[in-house]
């Protein structure tokens, strides 16, 4: 045991390697779960993946850099429209089309992130919340201004057909799961793969010098500046990284929903993203993942529950936001640091006792 630990030390002490290993293991487990799930659950997992990517970016911005954004729904809209327009031009049938579309979505959002981030860096607290709020309200309405954006009815998104995927991917998936890949499982695999990559990148960023600067800026901007940190630059970088995550999430959302329309990107979306982040635990990627899971599963769970209690479809539809609001209120009241934040002291105590146990082992 001791030897194993010392053997693994060079790996576990390097954050990148550690994050990669955790991500890889998690990814394998998730792939297996997706492979065994029904198509319906696969679409829920895919939804959870893109919400988690967006929430991950937001938790980094709000939790680490201390900038409260109410406009992430708008950034997702930018990503979704960018990806949709690319897919429309290229046909969106092959895997390459999909990745090009997602890269364009990320790129466009990076540019928007810088453009919005620069003025936003001069603001703080409620002012930046207000500024990003206008973004959330205004951006989706732009779709009504230009015909190329499809107006209120939105744009149809071509989805890659599973049969068009490269043969080696089809064989690989078949080999591991014994289930033929179809477009539902493809989107779920794609979402979780990109989620794993994004979270490794974000986790690494937050452990790096960049992340430490963000924390310094968040905790005390004056002393951060005295220590030689360029406040504006640190904030703009944080906003841009966060916007890129939202762009990727938007692109994935477009493919999953198969429609990009302003109705998807209301202010409610921005607020639910923030709610997911708060629910999970501000600043924690695990929290973002949990929050996204709640977002993807709770509304359906509540509707089904309502219907199983004999409510009519209308009443069950009305019950959903109530349940959602109640859960949020309960978390805020009972676990103000979010789910992960409240579990953290407990987990710390647990690992402390096990560390104690191992030292005991050593002495005997």
């Amino acid at each position: 045991m001791e030897r194993l630990r010392s053997l693994l030390r060079p790996v576990t002490s390097v954050p990148l390697a550690r994050h990669l290993i955790v991500a890889l293991v998690a990814l394998l487990v998730v792939m297996a779960v997706i492979g065994m799930s029904s198509q319906y659950l696969q679409t829920r997992y895919a939804e959870m993946a893109y919400f988690a990517i967006a929430a991950g970016g937001l938790t980094l911005l709000t939790g680490l850099s201390g900038q409260l954004s109410l406009g992430h729904g708008a950034l997702m809209a930018v990503g979704a429209y960018a990806a949709t327009l690319v897919l429309e031009r290229t046909g969106g049938e092959s895997l390459a089309d999909v990745f090009v579309a997602l890269l364009v979505a990320i790129g466009v959002c990076a540019v928007v992130g810088v453009v919005v981030g620069v003025p936003a860096a001069r603001l703080h607290g409620p002012y930046i919340a207000g500024a990003t709020l206008t973004l959330a309200v205004a951006v989706p309405r732009l779709a009504n201004q230009w015909d190329v954006l499809g107006g209120e009815q939105g744009l149809q998104v071509p989805v890659p057909r599973a049969s068009e995927l490269p043969a080696w991917i089809q064989d690989l998936i078949w080999f591991f799961t014994a289930v033929e890949i179809d477009q539902y499982s493809f989107l779920a695999y794609l979402g979780w793969l990109l989620l794993a990559l994004t979270f490794v990148a974000l986790a690494n960023l937050s452990r790096s010098r960049v992340g430490r600067r963000w924390r310094a800026v968040r905790d005390d901007d004056v002393s951060a500046e005295l220590a030689g940190i360029h406040l504006g630059r640190a904030r703009v970088v944080a906003f841009t990284v966060s916007a890129m995550c939202a762009g990727l999430a938007g692109g994935l959302m477009a493919m999953n929903v198969r429609l990009t329309a302003p109705g998807a990107f209301t202010i409610t979306l921005s607020l639910t993203l923030l709610a997911a982040v708060v629910l999970g635990g501000l600043g924690s990627l695990t929290g973002a993942l949990i929050g996204a899971g709640v977002l993807a599963f709770l509304p359906h769970f509540a509707t089904d529950l309502g219907e199983s209690f004999g409510l009519s479809a209308t009443q069950a539809a009305e019950v959903t936001p109530v349940v959602y609001g109640l859960v949020l209120m309960l978390v805020i009241l009972l676990a103000p640091a979010g789910i992960v934040g409240s579990l953290r002291p407990f987990l710390a105590r647990l690992s402390a006792t096990s560390a104690l146990g191992s030292t005991k082992e050593k002495t005997t």
Binding site: F175, T177, A178, R258
Partner: protein
């Protein structure tokens, strides 16, 4: 000795992993083509639809599924269709296309419906048509008059319209106005999507020179139409033709009163239900316009009609709907409305298609049946369906009516036509169809 043991363990580990991986792949045969009668058993048929049960489009439209369900229960209690009982799943999309996409996904994958029947709305249903056709799911009798459900069966082979499309409605309205009010200055009030566009296309065939102003609105957007009504007023409009949903009929009336704009009004069938609009006027103005006065406000308005409604209680069809509703409404206190009649009329057509299809029901066979026999279905529609291999368009005609005391008085006989430059002809033949005595299509 110890090294040998360790090596043995390593080898065993590798072998186990390899065989496990191999087992993963070799376990099952690759599945064959999926069956095409998902959602059908020997005793049940499961269908689904998306409706706005909440949100700005919910008033009126949320009543349609209750009509469907009442009629299906009536049929089920009489033994069902070929021994199968019809079950309908209804999901709320709040008239938001993104939600429609999500709930349709749920109905296909979770509820495993056999077919979509009567999914409502032009922008909403448009979001899922491609999906339904890609997956080979029958998409029958869409609750919307947009052209796209039926004008091109090659791209959407599984989709069928039901009500008269907005283009032929626009044509009939246009011809009536051109013939009877040739001096009117016409303003168009349109929903800013295919609904408004199709209607405008039809109306412009006859009214191009008479139209002086066009105003559009976005569902879910602003609810204050003072700017639009002021524009009509300033351009001297004296006849407004509206292709809009009921809430926007009420909102346009409120705004017109607000800016002192007086005009004749001609709302397309979709937005013209006097009882509903009256109620909406009352609730939107917080009672400043009481419901009865709201209904009175609708007096003299023109609209079109293609199925008999609650204002004709002596009609054989309405008698049937009343009988069904009285015994099968979930809550006895709720009244029969035109929207429930609309739902029951659609349900009647669906049952008719199932009967015509016979016992062997698949997703392909129901489409084939409607293409072959749909044009001869006799039902509450005032004009026959246009279903064939080349057209999936619904009812082929409407009659122009004027609203008086909340009831409609016909101004023209039934006018039958088709999209494009097909001529408009008088044809009352389908209007005299009567329901079978059992109330269930044979």
């Amino acid at each position: 000795m110890r090294t040998t043991a360790r090596r043995a363990v390593q080898v065993v580990c590798v072998l186990t992993t390899a065989s496990l991986l191999a087992a993963c792949g070799a376990g099952k045969e690759r599945p064959s083509e999926e069956g095409t009668a998902v959602g059908v058993t020997d005793t049940t048929i499961k269908v689904g639809a998306h409706f706005p049960l909440t949100g700005p489009a919910a008033p009126g439209y949320s009543e349609i599924p209750s009509g469907h369900q009442a009629f299906y229960e009536y049929v089920n209690d009489a033994g069902g269709v070929h021994g199968r009982k019809i079950e309908m799943v209804v999901k709320d999309d709040a008239y938001n296309p993104t939600n429609t996409s999500a709930v349709t996904n749920d109905m296909i994958l979770q509820d495993e419906i056999f077919a979509m029947v009567a999914g409502l709305g032009t922008p909403t249903h448009r979001a899922v048509v491609q999906r339904l056709n890609d997956d080979g799911i029958p998409d029958l009798f869409v609750s919307s008059g947009s052209l796209q459900w039926g004008d091109n069966p090659e791209t959407s082979p599984m989709t069928f319209g039901w009500q008269p499309d907005y283009e032929i409605e626009g044509k009939v309205i246009g011809q009536y106005v051109a013939e009877n009010m040739p001096d009117a200055k016409v303003g168009l009030f349109l929903q800013d999507d295919d609904f408004g566009e199709d209607g405008e296309k039809g109306a412009r065939q006859f009214l191009d020179s008479q139209i002086v102003d066009v105003q559009k609105y976005t569902p879910g957007g602003s609810t204050d139409f003072s700017p639009q009504m002021s524009s009509f007023k300033s351009k001297g409009v004296d006849l407004v033709i509206g292709f809009n949903t009921p809430s926007y009929t009420a909102l346009s009336q409120i705004a017109a009163q607000g800016v002192g704009f007086k005009s004749k009004w001609f709302y397309s069938n979709v937005g013209s239900d006097p009882a509903l609009v009256g109620g909406l006027l009352a609730s939107m103005t917080k009672g400043k316009i009481p419901a009865e006065q709201g209904v009175k406000l609708m007096d003299g308005m023109m609209t079109t009609e293609y199925i008999p409604g609650v204002d004709a209680p002596d009609d054989e069809w309405v008698k049937l709907w009343q009988k069904v509703w009285d015994s099968y409404s979930k809550k006895g206190s709720e009244k029969l409305t035109n929207y429930r009649i609309y739902g029951m009329s659609q349900a009647y057509t669906f049952v008719q298609a199932l009967q015509a299809n016979g016992k062997d029901l698949t997703r392909e066979s129901i489409v084939e049946t409607i293409e072959k026999e749909g044009a001869s279905f006799e039902g509450p529609g005032l004009a026959p369906f246009r279903f064939s291999e080349d057209s999936h368009m619904g009812i082929s005609g409407v009659s122009v009516v004027e609203i008086k005391n909340g009831a409609s008085e016909p101004l023209t006989p039934v006018l039958v036509t088709d999209i494009g430059d097909a001529p408009i002809e008088e044809d009352d033949s389908a209007a005299s169809d009567a329901p079978p005595s059992s109330g269930i299509p044979e």
